[in-house]
Symmetry: C2
Subunit: 257 residues, 2 copies
């Protein structure tokens, strides 16, 4: 049987340590092609580049592993679109994986996540896709304990396929003295980021802000991604891109419109 | 009764004609404060600014209408966050409206839409929110026929509230010889953008791309936003930010993980 073709992208940029871990795991399973941003694209959500031009160039980032790679000036969603319609015009990837992100994309963070936008864009294109994130924001984060879990999820996805019109949001606990307990299929916890703005003055005495904030979980459910991660499990949430709130339609139909 | 406080944002930037229409309608109903991007932010999806600083300055854009306005260097989601946690720190808006966007945000475009990200960010913050978009991309688009529909939707939202954890995605037909037939509550049509990349050479003979593409609707349902718009109705889709594909969880639980 031919090796499966796996497209790898991310949002931390093509030189981030996290994508290197993902590429190595993917290479142990199939043929790998990388199309990733040429710099950090964290927090880009599902942004695409429409009012500007895009660059796409061959990258040397994975020459040491003998892997074909391209770096793109755009967002993670742009990378997947360019991969599908340009780099892989003649070939269809069997799986698209994104990450491993430096930092959690559980719960509400899925909306802001560039990592997940690459996976969701692939799902829109009809491709099986998974976004992987490590609950550790550090550039020097240790990904070694995640490799066996990333591998088993990729192998299962290739074997079973991924439910249509969905992409998987996989979050991996930070390295600790405790081993990871296992993998749980979860729902997205109801939570939000509570922002604060750090107000400063620039050298010209003009005001500017840094966005900061803390994560607030409103959800006590034991079936959530937050609960799984808190208990040292890998969380897997299937994500859809139909955003319709079907339960809300009846109430709107009572409006006088 | 005190006038309702309405926060207005958009993604085309504070000087776009569409936001001016929305501000005028909102002003006929309540007190208005504008916090909008200082330039175009189309296609920014749910992007936020985390690796960079943010500017927020008083704007003269609505001085002629006597309306307090602020322009922000960030994305639509940044604008709503700064509005909530800085500009309106002491006051809670009764409604957040975004738009009117120059161009449709129906169906899958809701994911890429900066207009809708402002509304969804407000919903995450627990505020009733509506994004308005006109199915006409032109900067010179005629918004006059939409005003009565925007007004009735805003008034109904203030009267009834908006279902919790949702924001409304309202799309308005382009001006034509036919009057708009009415307003329909819809679901998001299953559709996608079929990209093509226009490859060019810059003056230094380096390759670059423009993203282009066409909208492909796979959905024949008569209850979709696309169907409503095609038949000259205003479409209203309630959007949620819980992206969990609940129907897909059982299949994933069959995996050997």
């Amino acid at each position: 049987m031919a090796k499966p073709l796996i497209l790898v992208s991310n949002d931390d940029g093509i030189t981030a340590p996290g994508i290197r871990t993902l590429v190595k795991v993917a290479k142990s399973i199939g043929e790998v092609i990388v199309v990733a941003p040429d710099g950090p694209q964290s927090g880009m959500g599902h942004a695409i580049t429409i009012g500007n031009t895009l660059r796409l160039d061959k990258s040397i980032a994975f020459d040491d592993l003998g892997i074909e790679a391209y770096e793109c000036s755009g967002t993670p969603a742009d990378c997947v679109k360019l991969a599908k319609h340009h780099v892989l015009k003649e070939r269809r990837p069997d799986l698209v994986v994104s990450g491993i992100n430096h930092g959690s994309n559980s719960s509400i963070s899925v909306l802001y996540s560039g990592t997940m936008s690459a996976a969701i864009e692939a799902a829109i294109e009809g491709l099986p896709a998974i976004g992987f994130s490590l609950c550790d924001y550090g550039h020097e984060a240790d990904f070694s304990h995640t490799e066996e879990f990333v591998e088993v999820i990729i192998r299962q996805a290739l074997q079973h396929g991924i439910p249509e019109n969905t992409a998987l949001n996989v979050n991996l606990p930070k390295k600790s003295s405790e081993p990871i307990k296992g993998i749980k299929v979860c729902r997205q916890a109801h939570a939000k980021w509570q922002e604060e703005f750090d107000e400063r003055l620039d050298p010209r005495n003009r005001r500017y802000f840094w966005m900061t904030g803390s994560f607030v979980n409103f959800d006590k459910g034991e079936d959530t991604d937050e609960c799984a991660l808190l208990n040292n499990y890998v969380s897997v949430v299937p994500c859809q891109y139909d955003m319709t709130a079907y339960h809300a339609m009846a109430r709107l139909n009572e409006w006088d419109i």
